[in-house]
Amino acid sequence: MNHPENDKWLDGALKETIGPERPRADFEQWKMKHPEAVEMLTSRIDKGASASPSPLSIRKMIMKSPITKLAAAAVIIIFAGIVLSLLGEGTPTFAQVIEPILNARTVVFDLIAGEDETGPVIHDIIKDSRIRRTMSNMPSIMIIDLDDGRMLTLDPQAKGAAYVDIKGPLQEATRSYLVLVREIVTKLKDHPEWWTITELGEQEIDGQRAVGFHVSGGDQQLTVWADPRMAVPIRIELRRRQSVIAIFKNIEFDVPVDDSLVSMDVPAGYTLHEGELNLSDFNEQDFIETLRIWAELLHDGKFPDRLSAEDFMAQVPLAGAKIDQLDISEEQKLQRGMQLGRGITFFQFLRHQNEYHYAGKGVKLGDAEKAIFWYQTENSQNWRVIYGDLNVKDVTPENLPKLYDEKYTQMTPVEVAQAFFQACKDENWDEVLKLDPASEVPQWLKDTYGGLEIISIGEPFKTDEYHGWYVPYEVRLKSGRIKKWNLALLNRAKGLQVDGGL
């Protein structure tokens, strides 16, 4: 019997017709448009009123949380900065729009880490080496002084203020986005031969007419939408392979920025927390405590399904609120909040510098048998393995938890390249996934590389800039085009994995 409702075309047609674009939830904007409603809700604090009696912990959270909020805010802001540092290696743009990027003294923009435009939005006002940063999912304000490695965090609701030390690697990682973009543009100018620029024509972007350019080089891509009259970018999307890393929106160059907006002085009426908070000195123990907080307070005693930048960023405010509800002293809450921040920072640095693996999905906090996280330490062949009870052991590579088929973990660079292109030739995408860290094979890869013919695989080599392997290859694509390039391979827990060069 035919079930028309099961037809895939109908699913596709309905989705295309009904849901072409996700609505954006912007609570900050909503608050601005509905001050009376906000006033009515917040006035309930003073009245102490609710439909039913509230637990003491909730009252406590509302009345006594400025410092923990400041700490949580500091965490997010720092975290947001690190998210962008992974752009690292150059990305491009083009002559018509690069001048303001290179020369502007002030820049204002909204930034979204990842591709979910309904997620938290970072709003930056940059003037020289100072940044004023706010986020859509919290009311706090951050003033960052990149020269001094110091940050002033302000809570406008509780009128609290605190200085945070971000010196050291964190200071370097929390670069101005403007600096980052300028570096990218400079690389494009210096090496135009590395990039391919495609004109995208004119479209309506973020409510205004814009002319677009797509720039790709290696596995990095940049899409820039610019005001056609003024030739200034209004939206920039950065991608690595097929993943969106960041979206800059509502960009304005050289707008007047009053010095008071980026002042490191505590504003009148704010109470300064004594002593400086410290996010700069993070270590493994901080990360372990972060895992504990995440499992205990946010996941009912189990470790989360995954550890990701986006999840941390979205859930830190809730974690901060949960810490506030604990029956511990204010000082202890503050320390736990800061530890949470340092733990996330540790993870962020680990993510970009070391090989690691997370296997905590479904594991209960306290389970001493199951390894939930392991990472390779610098200057050692051994790995640090964290178990479900949060104990840590040094483990040699051969004794690491066996999650993957040894056929793949023991492959040489040439074998991986050979196997990868053979799988593409056979259009065996399941096999491709065993050699690629992606969760699914993107359509462009299938379209471009499916059915290829291998001409040659060369001798692998290394460079100072990249800590993986390059394997030269020459293939004939189904289109007839011959591609000669270097496949980038990175050593991961499941063996050497394709990291770029396609």
């Binding site: 409702e5 609570f27 509905h34 509302i62 999912n137």
Partner: protein, 182 residues
């Protein structure tokens, strides 16, 4: 969904904690736009309706007794707001057939219009469900929570609604064979 965390957020919001209300806003904004869209058939009106829904919720959250039914309570407000907007627009969903660009539309737009008509020919409960499912890909659990019906009911209603849409489209000469996604 973590019910405990949601009831905690609702309770905190009832006590004037704006960030908690913000978290609820972030969680349900999209589903309220979808629900309003199912009644108004106009994306921009639906977004306006959702803004108003949260303004009312923000003012009245103290009156909510069953904290665990926040989503269903919000949906009730949303239906009321949407009805008021429909009345203000003389009772007619504005997106169907009133589009001035319709005279110049191409075949693809014709097909989309046929699908829209099929969806808006459904009864309210089925239309709500279809729009929520395809507007933003809400899961059965999320739909169940907002529409306050069981997951099984969501599933059954979805199948029936899709069957009706397919029949409507077939009658109008649109089948999988001649539909080409853009």
């Amino acid at each position: 969904m973590n019910l405990n965390s949601e009831t905690t957020l609702v309770e905190a919001a009832q006590n004037g904690h704006l960030e908690s209300f913000g978290a609820l806003y972030e969680r349900y904004h999209s589903s309220m736009v979808a629900l309003a869209y199912s009644m108004l058939a106009d994306r921009y009106l639906a977004e306006d309706a959702a803004q108003e829904v949260f303004a009312i919720a923000c003012r009245d959250i103290g009156s909510l007794k069953s904290k665990e039914r926040f989503a269903a309570w919000l949906a009730g407000i949303c239906r009321n707001v949407s009805r008021q907007m429909l009345r203000a627009n003389k009772g007619k969903p504005v997106a169907l057939g009133d589009n001035p660009a319709a005279q110049n539309r191409d075949d693809m737009e014709d097909r989309r219009e046929a699908i829209r008509r099929a969806v808006w020919s459904l009864r309210d409960p089925e239309r709500e469900l279809i729009v929520m499912r395809y507007f933003d890909g809400f899961s059965q659990e999320q739909i169940s929570e907002v529409l306050d019906i069981s997951s099984q009911a969501v599933n059954g209603r979805l199948v029936r609604a899709k069957r009706k849409i397919a029949k409507y489209l077939k009658r109008n000469g649109l089948t999988g064979g001649n539909y080409e996604p853009s």
